[in-house]
């Protein structure tokens, strides 16, 4: 789990061009979207969908499903653990 979180943070930083941020600065439970969090937006959400497909074989067809899943690194890792293709 911890390893997956670390891996995910690094992948997010790369995929979303968060160049000024290090993995340590992303808190597991903090919101990724919106002004309080990392300030991610709808384009970032689409990039996360691509990332999940590419790395973990998880498909999310409807971007609106993503809202709860993408809330934080914690929610994302839980979803990946539950749905990843072996």
């Amino acid at each position: 789990m911890e390893q997956l979180k670390q891996e995910l943070k690094e992948a997010l930083i790369e995929a979303l061009n968060l160049e000024d941020i290090t993995p340590d600065e992303i808190e597991d439970g903090a919101p990724l979207f919106g002004a309080q969090g990392l300030g991610l937006d709808s384009i970032d959400a689409l990039e996360i969908i691509l990332l999940l497909e590419r790395r973990y074989g998880i498909r999310i067809e409807n971007p609106s499903e993503g809202k709860a899943i993408f809330y934080s690194v914690d929610t994302l890792t839980a979803y990946i653990e539950a749905n990843r293709k072996p």
């Binding site: 979303l16 061009n17 300030g39 937006d41 709808s42 689409l46």
Partner: protein
Amino acid sequence: MRTEHPLKAYLTAGTIISSLGATTEENMRHIRAYRSGIRLLDDPALYEAPFMGARIERDEREGEADALSGYTRLERLFIASLSGVIDRSGIDPTGADCLLILSTTKGNIDRLSADAPREAILLSPMAQKVADYFHLSHPPLVVSTACISGVSALIAAYRLVMEGRYRRVLVAGGDLLTRFVATGFQSFKSIGAERCRPYDKRRDGLSLGEASGAVLVTAERDDVRDHLPIVIEGGAVTNDAHHISAPSRTGEGLRAAVLQAMGEAGVQPGDISFVNAHGTATVYNDEMESKAFHLSGLDALPLNSLKPFWGHTLGASGVIETVACMEELCSGEVFGTLGFEAAGTTYPLNLSDRHRSMPLRRCLKTASGFGGCNAAIVLALEAEAKPHVKLPHVKLPPLQAHLIRRCTVERGRVVRDGTIIFHATGGEAFPSFIREAYAHLALDDRRFYKMDDLCKLGYIAAAYLLSGIDWASRYKPEETGIILSNASSSLDTDIRHQQVIEALGDKEASPAVFVYTLPNVVMGELCIRYNIRGENTFFITPAYDPELIKRYALLAMKRQKLQACLAGWCEYLDGHYCAQLEWIERIK
């Protein structure tokens, strides 16, 4: 022959080539019979899975294949639609009083491949080829402001004719349905599973289309030969200053464009007979429009979207949909929004899936696009048109504007008003230069790292240009605007998008790359950064033409609320970069 009555901008000889046919008549016949050009396209050369779209199936002008063999598919379409306009109006386009404006988002993008010469994709040479085919006197202008390009080009034509600069302006819009565009919109999950259903409860996305359309904007009433005279009464362009791809949540930007266009026309909502809206059928676009029309007091008026007939034809849409508006005004019918069943927006609009006959006198046409831009134009039957207050023979004092400041960014240096204010120590290569400049400005803006290189260049140049100018306290956001230009559009990022789909596959297209494959997104970024909400036009020219850009800024100031404007050149390709920006304020 010069007309003696007050100067008006007539709109005539509209020609449409689309999935519904190669003439305006054919297109109108199919629309009247409720036939759509959208179908399931199953073509791996376009996208690896079938999707809904509208394609021009037969090769246009087959009989002239030899004469047009040196032209690309899009160039042939432009030539065909412009030939239609010239035939119908009977004008001689070669005169010094005639200009051509092309509107396109992606031009010859179907020619883009890893080894294609860059020149084959550039928009200005393409436009020049089309202009040369007709032996036009002036180099053509290209407007590329995302999905508002067509309406934006019509507004430019209107302004130039009303200024007396040209007697006639030919406006041609065109875009192709390509793998480039299909993969990009798929990456945005914007394409619906079924034919698009604008404003409907069941809408789930747009359908792409391709088309070319052309029309003549003319001061000569005699050019109008086969229909009731129609005039353009006003037009405006605005920016949401909200997001580079997501429509505004409030509809405020589109509302401002609508109100400014109506203000210029001198009309109230009650004077408008119907609205032809953008209506792409994405959930958020249509919702935004419903709010904007509600806020503008237009939600009770008959309204339609023609996207279910042609699909979203991008840079052509504003032109072909305006031609349809002309047909509707002349025949007294508001076309139905094919497939509409039940209102699916917060503020229900006055829609019908059936064509409605009614007396019509004036219509409002709108468009909205990536980069947060919105455009609105008012057209009226001449008999109903309000006389313009200012007669052309009353000589007004020339409008003047101050050049407040100028800033140039190139070769590792930033020069402001003749003084070098930053010189990169790490060399002039773009990646290191732009980071160094960003650090030098001591800005903290996470958006910066997300931008493509064209936007980073514009962002840094604007930051140096505007630092220390206190304009926000003097002007309202809607009184400020941006007019930019460059030579290679967004080609640098276009190549990146193409590389991704060629190397990794159609479904690997990155939305964060695709969103930057429109040059006006740099204006969108600057509008967000500086809360600029007025005029937004992006021209493509072979080289920087400061006179043209400044003149256009003055025209916009004259006709709209615009008081201050960021104007200039922002060019980036293959690591070569040059930005030359000016901040201009109107002299009151």
